[in-house]
Symmetry: C2
Subunit: 410 residues, 2 copies
Amino acid sequence: MSVKVIDGGVTAAKGYKAAGLRAGIKEGKTNKDMAMLLSETPAACAGVFTRNLVKAAPVLWNSNIVYNYKKAQAVVVNTGFANACTGEAGYADCVKTAELAGKALGLDPNLVLTGSTGVIGVPLPMDKIEKGIGLLAESLSDSREAARDASEAIMTTDTKNKEIAVEFEIEGTTVKIGAMCKGSGMIHPNMGTMLGFIATDADIAYDVMLTSLRNIAEKTFNMVSVDGDTSTNDTVLLLANGKAGNPKITGEGASLDAFNEALLYVMTELAKRIAEDGEGASRLFEARVIGAPDYETAKVLAKSIITSNLTKCAVFGRDANWGRILCAMGYSGAAFDPAKVDIVIKSENGSICLAKSGQGAGFSEEEALHVLSPKTIIAECNLNSGTESATAWGCDLTYEYVTINADYRS
Amino acid sequence: MSVKVIDGGVTAAKGYKAAGLRAGIKEGKTNKDMAMLLSETPAACAGVFTRNLVKAAPVLWNSNIVYNYKKAQAVVVNTGFANACTGEAGYADCVKTAELAGKALGLDPNLVLTGSTGVIGVPLPMDKIEKGIGLLAESLSDSREAARDASEAIMTTDTKNKEIAVEFEIEGTTVKIGAMCKGSGMIHPNMGTMLGFIATDADIAYDVMLTSLRNIAEKTFNMVSVDGDTSTNDTVLLLANGKAGNPKITGEGASLDAFNEALLYVMTELAKRIAEDGEGASRLFEARVIGAPDYETAKVLAKSIITSNLTKCAVFGRDANWGRILCAMGYSGAAFDPAKVDIVIKSENGSICLAKSGQGAGFSEEEALHVLSPKTIIAECNLNSGTESATAWGCDLTYEYVTINADYRS
């Protein structure tokens, strides 16, 4: 692979600074709750957003900016409250947030994007947001620690911060992509996850990067499900400030291929980490549908398998319940011949065929339990009807998921 | 209401006998596992079946009979194994079951319907099925107890047997409908629930009763979800043997209206009982969408609300989390204006408005907790955009659901 993983987060690429700290938004809690990302100069910016009809104020604000202005320089994020279902007053708070950040950073507010995640329907505490913005602007740094602080500050029920950085070459020039994201519950993105921020120093045309972001989101974040619930706030932003100095990518070719390979790697890794850290999850559950006549069929089937509550419970219970997998494929709406399906379970403990041609393969329960025991479980379903494939990522359904969501107003 | 609920089950209408007993199919368990229903004479028979692409053998057998012969006289049901994903051998077992029952009852096998529910992918133990059929044929009775035995014998993870009987008049003649059903997990019927058997002594033309069954299934069983998983075995059968002696119902009019009113009552009650007895459920959760521009919109929204894992967890935790309800409406795919939606929660403890015009209504958390405490919780969502409405039934998502499905191979 020509993409190299490097230590770092959202500040890894040239010309980006970040900060993350506690502004006191989440009452009685001690963790960080606000983050900021700044590019030294305006960056081309593409975004993909929730398709939920109920859209949070930051989704409305950001989509207007990225679709119309196509560039941005700063992002301000708060956790604690989602600023969704807050009406015109909520939208005004979002505009005010961008204005406050613009003032603190000396930028046009139309270059400032916002992000919110947390409880729906509660107004933002604007006094704390204002104070937080001032502190963030003073703390901005391109250090490793600053990137980590920012990635920690966007967490809600996440148990781990999620960041990644890679480098690769475009026509002899080293280019980097740094990224962070959050997401643990209300995860069934219909575009991207709760919040994802990707910062690259590549020089790339807006239209080209928008196409890359959309296509890759479709195969990565959109293939993740924790609980089947599509959030009101889902947002993935890709900033490209051109500081790497590569010959500008303006269309198809080897340079775009290299960029797409790196972006696919970054977004796949983040998508898997979200699934793995799903609320209450004890296992990452990957469904691979292969031998499909077309990609769409494979995609619908893979997503149906990882979304089923029954397959998720079976993964939790290490139950080799292939009938539930085939059942979830059957109600997905995709056309296939159940009598041709082979189901193989794989993990670091080996692999075992559970079903052959749509019927039980007469496997050893003991061996199946062994294969189902590690932290990452892969179900490979071969339709034996073509050469296309798709992968989706989910997690098991556990007691902890119920505990988290019976108690947490989100 | 002109429909009167009477004590009784599937044998309440004239000319029906039933039996339920233990044939030893579920190893190591002591509960009943086979049931039989017999009409004295061939009855007009309509059915609705799962739309899961993976169909169990009894679904294939029964749909062929009810679509082509349009009549039946007996039904044999086993629990323990679903006879799904069992291939040609499984279908042969299903045919053999009908033949054995036909022989024991002196009937053409094409008048015998079958039903199976339980673990997917395991062959039926035909020796036990054969022995069970013999015992059932000897035990048939029109008594209250026999109906109860049959309703108990079709249970799997159900905690309660589900039966009902009603009587009403058609042109001065008393007509009865008796029914039983089962269903607790893998419940998200795309037609009817796991297994439902409705026996009436009404005299009614096949085409008319098929239309009634389909339309009413759409508004009752199809509006229930326990876990979003559509089973491979879903089947609802309606038998009408004409023994009541009413002037035959052959088309629209007051007689059909009376019949439909009674059938709607029976199927609504059974649908609610399935939701209430959902695997691990502690609460019945009813979503009513009112003020909709059309029925389809109301239906899609109501079903999305009760299917969301997050609303289900909130009901379990008695959390007045209206944001999750609006969020689930938003990703349903139905078109509506979130800024017009009012959300009211109702129960035997009163009612409370949580959201007005898409925003929080500033309610008392203490009062909300009180309203959310009883066993049955209703969420009424007014779109304020028309006069159509729809109701869907679900249940809360609890620790018990996870326990049942992490351990049970089904």
